[in-house]
């Protein structure tokens, strides 16, 4: 009613939340409380509040100073220097100051990560090993030691071998293997986070892995005061936090909720402060003008994953033989392009975002917001330009071109029939068993294919796996296609495109999902090699970042034009929330997105209008 509108007018005066209550689903329950030993987002979302590295990210995703007051490189990224504040303290769970934070803490931490016996699961090793001088060698060295020896190592050997030094107590210098202009973006990842030697000594080296929250040392804005596995985590404000001026909650409580439907009723009763809306709730609220939450629906910002349809170019049948039909078909460029231009995913997008489905369209391979040209242009905008993507008309997907698709389809049928491909081409797609959500989406996708491309052309088959996609599907190479989202590890396009290159072991998707290296079609391989050359060319440019990004953009455009992989979607859902998402840190890489620092909140939930205003301001 109108009463609500009035209260909206006074929003500015509305009170902020002191004790935030938010939620998590059981699949994303924390497993590990020691920040160096985990790479799981579920853990880091919590730990980014209790631990802090050199830098932070702002709502736009840019790096800003944190513990490091200044940082930079003078040699195109071969050596990086971080100058720290001198007023940062380590505290224990009761908030008692335990030690000052010094440069050595970063050495201790890196040593921990690289020491094969301290960090036996190998978490957080990949970036240091690929970037920092001597890291790989040191890890190999520790492997050769017995567990006892390795645990007892002091840092002298480490400092000798690895490219890290501390000229003074508050300066850390890293030496990279090659020119790494983006090395600073790694500083927001757990692999460059510090840990105090004092802490290790206090708990004992062998107990660090299984340390409890009561023994941890904290240097972040919050202290983890409660962790009841399967139920609650409570973060309490760290009174000794260095950033005295920032805005923090007194406490943040993260409750575990069976699913968002249950969460919705909790929001309804005021037990939690924000909730993502599941399909049914969203629909019910949206379609009913009188629903009390009708005006409070707010669209979230995209999460940081760029989802792609990744084809398998060396697919196998269940019996282990090659699926020649599929492999031949997918090697055909016209076939792939017909999917690119012809497949209308609007209905799929509606599943998550029925109000504004087209906002979920993903246009490129790299995630928007990863890097910017020096003029402020987003890298992805440049890619869109290069592939001549039409502007959105708000009615259909931007890349969609029915006529072109039709032509390509004809061409593909012609070319493939000649090679003996049988139509419809069967396309195997796997989802987790027991997940109705996945099944529903897959069903819709299946119909999208049938409707847009005709089920005499491509037929999507839905299969299931029980526990592990990798184990049950990817390893035996059973899938035709996987929809996978990549989240950046650090702030460079290489991190995205590098996963798709040909013939390189570090290319994750090529090695595991697309199996391009096992493909036989010469034309296909040629395309990939071409793309790989383009990427490598860009990699080599380290001095001028604009130039570097432009080269990447060329490579990415090539990839998209040849439909080597097809952008699928962005996850943008709707919520009811008392949190202003635009005030929340939004890095595409790093672990700071759930850092409850400087969040704007309102005890009265935000309205759609409020959010529109925020968005406008944000995008300025």
């Amino acid at each position: 009613g109108s009463g609500k509108k009035e209260s909206k007018g006074e929003k500015g005066a509305s009170e902020e939340i002191k004790d935030l209550v938010t939620y998590e689903v059981p699949q994303r329950e924390m497993e590990n409380v020691f920040v160096l030993n985990t790479e799981m987002a579920a853990d880091l979302n919590v730990l980014c509040n209790t631990n802090e590295g050199f830098l932070e990210t702002n709502p736009k995703g840019q790096l800003v100073a944190g513990i490091a007051k200044e940082w930079g490189t003078e040699d195109n990224g071969l050596t990086w220097t971080f100058k720290m504040r001198d007023d940062v303290k380590w505290v224990d769970q009761q908030g008692n100051e335990k030690a000052d934070m010094v440069a050595d803490d970063f050495v201790t931490a890196l040593e921990w990560i690289l020491n094969a016996h301290k960090n036996d699961a190998g978490n957080n090793t990949s970036m240091p090993i690929s970037m920092i001088k001597g890291a790989k060698e040191y890890r190999e060295y520790t492997k050769s030691l017995s567990a006892d020896e390795a645990l007892k190592l002091d840092k002298s050997k480490f400092l000798e071998m690895v490219g890290i030094e501390t000229p003074d107590d508050y300066t850390v210098v890293y030496h990279c293997i090659a020119e790494t202009p983006y090395f600073d973006t790694v500083a927001v990842c757990a692999c460059l986070y510090p840990i105090s030697q004092g802490f290790i000594d206090e708990v004992g080296v062998e107990n660090v892995k299984s340390v409890g929250i009561d023994k941890l040392w904290y240097n972040g804005p919050y202290i983890l005061t409660e962790f009841i596995q399967g139920n609650t985590k409570t973060l309490t404000k760290n009174e000794s936090y260095w950033d005295k001026d920032c805005k923090l909650f007194d406490t943040v409580t993260i409750k575990l909720v069976e699913d968002v439907t249950v969460g919705y009723s909790l929001y309804d009763t005021g037990e939690i402060d924000t909730i993502d809306l599941a399909e049914a709730n969203l629909r019910a609220i949206y379609e009913d003008e009188n629903n009390q939450y009708h005006d409070y629906l707010t669209e979230k910002l995209p999460n940081k994953f760029s989802y792609q349809m990744k084809f398998n170019y060396a697919k196998k049948n269940e019996d282990g033989s090659d699926d020649t039909n599929w492999n031949t078909a997918i090697a055909n460029e016209a076939f792939r392009q017909s999917i690119y231009y012809g497949l209308d995913l609007t209905k799929t997008y509606e599943r998550a975002n029925m109000i504004n489905p087209l906002s979920c369209e993903n246009t490129a391979y790299t995630m928007k917001g990863l890097v910017y040209f020096s003029d402020g242009t987003d890298y992805v905008d440049r890619v869109e330009e290069l592939i001549e993507l039409p502007e959105s008309n708000g009615k259909k997907m931007r890349r969609l071109d029915k006529e072109k698709a039709e032509e390509l389809k004809k061409q593909a049928i012609e070319e493939l029939s000649a090679k003996g491909v049988k139509f419809p081409v069967e396309m195997d797609y796997y989802i987790p068993a027991g997940s109705q959500l996945a099944l529903d989406s897959a069903t819709v996708l299946q119909e999208n294919f049938a409707e847009c491309l005709g089920d005499d052309y491509i037929k999507l088959n839905i299969g299931t796996y029980v526990s592990s996609l990798t184990q049950e599907v990817i390893d035996p190479s059973l899938q035709s296609v996987v929809m996978n989202g990549w989240g950046a590890d650090y702030g460079d396009v290489q991190n995205f495109l590098g996963q798709e290159t040909y013939g390189e072991e570090t290319a994750y998707y090529s090695m595991n999902y697309t199996n391009i290296n096992d493909a036989t079609d010469p034309e296909l391989i040629a395309t990939w090699k071409e793309f790989t050359d383009l990427v490598n060319k860009a990699n080599a440019i380290t001095g001028d970042l604009d130039e570097r990004y432009e080269a990447y953009a060329q490579a990415e455009a090539y990839m998209l034009k040849h439909a080597m992989t097809i952008p699928y979607n962005l996850e943008i859902s709707w919520q009811l929330s008392k949190i202003n998402d635009y005030s929340v840190s939004h890095a595409i890489y790093g672990m700071q997105n759930a850092k409850y620092k400087n969040w704007e909140t309102s005890v009265d939930a935000y309205t759609t209008e409020d959010y529109e205003k925020f968005a406008e301001e944000f995008n300025k």
């Binding site: 699913d259 439907t261 009723s265 599941a278 399909e279 049914a280 709730n281 629909r283 019910a284 209905k347 509606e350 599943r351 029925m354 989802i431 987790p432 068993a433 027991g434 997940s435 109705q436 099944l439 529903d440 069903t443 819709v444 119909e447 839905i462 299931t464 029980v466 526990s467």
Partner: protein
């Protein structure tokens, strides 16, 4: 006076008929006929049995008369969550698919599963239970086997089976039977032990009757009523177990919807759209109540002590 006269001439001996004496009072009797008659006397059970058969038959008819074919269901988010109406008799689900044909199709699957499992459990359970109960020397070892299998949570087996073997209707049937027979066997064993040393079994031993015939003829008939009851109760519990397993992702394959799966899904929507829950729930409840009542009634009826 004539009355009295008539009486007078009745004061004479009549011939004694031994046959007549033997026959007095007893009528012809057929066991199964009496079972059936007794069963028919339980109105509620009969009604429920009829309802159940109607349900089964109707599930076939329903799929035919429904406006949508299960195999050709199309998603259409614009039609999602339509409450029951003339077009969609049971409304539509979250993807705008006709719920009517899903419910009936699922009902068929569930009933089929439950019946097969119940029967399988029963056959396996009875056979093993009989042997277990009758042959003393096997008691120890079978009890130990029972303890061992019973002490490992079923979830472990089901997960491992799903992981190692896969998921399908057949696998589900086999694995549910594989664990379900235990309780049945245990039950049968206890009963068999009760009847094992009855005097009529001694009589059979005196006559050299082989064990299997003693079991089949002398002991099993006494267990019939309890077996039937257990059989009847295992049907709803199978449906319940299936839905729990589905809830955990260990249920049937995705291409076979069951009432359990429908229920699981409906849970997410039932506050806004109760009909999604109500239809499958009502069918499950109907099946349960039917088998509960019919099982009870039948086991009563099968007991000849209750035959007049």
């Amino acid at each position: 006076m004539g009355e009295n006269e008539k009486k007078d001439d009745l004061f004479r001996f009549v011939e004694y008929s031994a046959e007549k004496a033997e026959r007095t009072g007893y009528s012809d009797y057929s066991y199964w006929k009496s079972v059936f008659q007794n069963f028919l006397k339980k109105k509620s059970a009969v009604v429920m049995a009829i309802v159940f058969f109607a349900l089964v038959i109707f599930s076939f008819i329903a799929l035919h008369i429904g406006k949508y074919d299960y195999a050709a269901l199309k998603t259409n988010s614009a039609m999602a969550f339509q409450s029951p109406n003339g077009e969609y008799w049971f409304g539509t689900d979250n993807l705008g698919r006709d719920y009517w044909c899903q419910v009936w199709y699922a009902a068929q699957t569930s009933i089929k599963l439950a019946l097969i499992v119940a029967l399988g459990e029963c056959v396996l359970g009875v056979i093993i239970g009989c042997i277990w109960g009758y042959i003393r020397s096997l008691d120890r070892i079978l009890t130990e086997v029972y303890n061992i299998i019973n002490n490992v949570p079923v979830i472990i087996y089901m997960t491992l089976i799903a992981l190692l073997v896969g998921q399908s209707f057949t696998i589900m049937c086999i694995s549910l039977i594989g664990f379900g027979w235990l309780t049945m066997a245990r039950n049968v064993r206890n009963l068999v032990m009760m009847y094992r040393d009855r005097e009529y079994n001694l009589a059979s031993r005196c006559l050299g009757t082989p064990i299997w015939r003693v079991l089949v003829k002398n002991i099993l008939p006494y267990l019939i009523s309890i077996i039937i009851l257990r059989l009847a109760l295992s049907i709803p519990s199978t449906i319940a177990l299936e839905s729990t397993l589905s809830y955990l992702g260990l249920g049937l394959g995705i291409d076979t919807p069951s009432l359990g799966i429908l229920l699981r899904n409906a849970r997410n929507y039932f506050l806004e759209h109760p009909y999604l829950l109500i239809f499958p729930a009502v069918i499950v409840s109907l099946i349960t109540v039917t088998f509960y009542l019919v099982g009870n009634a039948f086991s009563d009826a099968a007991d000849p002590r209750n035959h007049v």
